[in-house]
């Protein structure tokens, strides 16, 4: 069964460093998403991406964040200069249709720890 994959599973970084989290969405899906879950808190929407551009973003997704689909299979989330409060589990998701019509399938997550 097709699934969303994410790498790395864990990432430890120093505050101020750049990190890139990688995702491979399900191959025939067209909509891609990033979510964040700070330990003990809700899963929060960060950004959605369609047709090589951001379609929606939340208040959390500030200028420190960027997303890219560098090739036909990968979808990345970059945090330019990490802060302690960026420590969280980051989930990638993809769907065949837009939210409202398509179920989002989630990857296993990348646990980011900023020291």
């Amino acid at each position: 069964e097709p699934e969303v994959t994410q790498t790395p599973s864990h990432q430890v970084t120093q505050m101020g460093q750049e990190v890139i989290l990688r995702c491979v969405p399900i191959s025939n899906h067209l909509y891609f998403y990033w979510y964040r879950q700070i330990l003990g808190q809700k899963v929060e929407f960060l950004v959605s991406f369609y047709n090589n551009e951001i379609s929606e973003k939340s208040e959390i997704f500030d200028d420190q964040f960027s997303v890219e689909r560098p090739d036909g299979s990968n979808f990345t989330l970059k945090i330019r200069s990490t802060k302690l409060e960026d420590s969280a589990m980051y989930f990638c998701a993809s769907s065949e249709l837009a939210s409202g019509g398509g179920t989002q399938y989630f990857g296993p997550g990348t646990r980011l720890l900023v020291l």
Binding site: K42, V43, S48, E56, F91, S99, T103, F106
Partner: protein
């Protein structure tokens, strides 16, 4: 802002018991999804409900959406340790392209 409240926040049941988790919205839901999250892992899609009064079942899990589309329940029959995890309801945020938001989560422990 639109919120999804889940109850109970946590649940501990004996194996074999039935249980129900609720998800309530202050506004009409356009697409209600149930996911399960194993501790420290990703979210697994369980079911999607869209129509008022809709009910879906998969194995021992049944989800319902009320007629007013403001409340959903997830019912597990004869619970097993494999059902343990965090259950999240999620919904599409109206009047947005692709925003999706989650409920507060219900942590389920099943004691063998």
């Amino acid at each position: 802002s639109q919120e999804l409240e889940q109850s109970p926040q946590s649940l501990i049941v004996q194996e074999g018991k039935n249980l129900t988790i609720n998800c309530t919205s202050s506004k009409t839901l356009y697409g209600l999804y149930w996911y399960k999250q194993k501790y420290g892992e990703g979210l697994i899609f369980l079911m999607m409900l869209q129509k008022g009064g809709e009910e879906k079942s998969h194995e021992k899990i049944t989800a319902k959406l009320d007629e007013k589309k403001q409340q959903s329940s997830l019912h597990i029959t004869a619970s097993q340790p494999s059902h343990a995890g965090i259950y999240l309801c999620g919904a599409d945020r109206p009047n947005t392209g692709n925003q999706f938001y989650f409920g507060t989560g219900t942590s389920l422990t099943v004691i063998p």
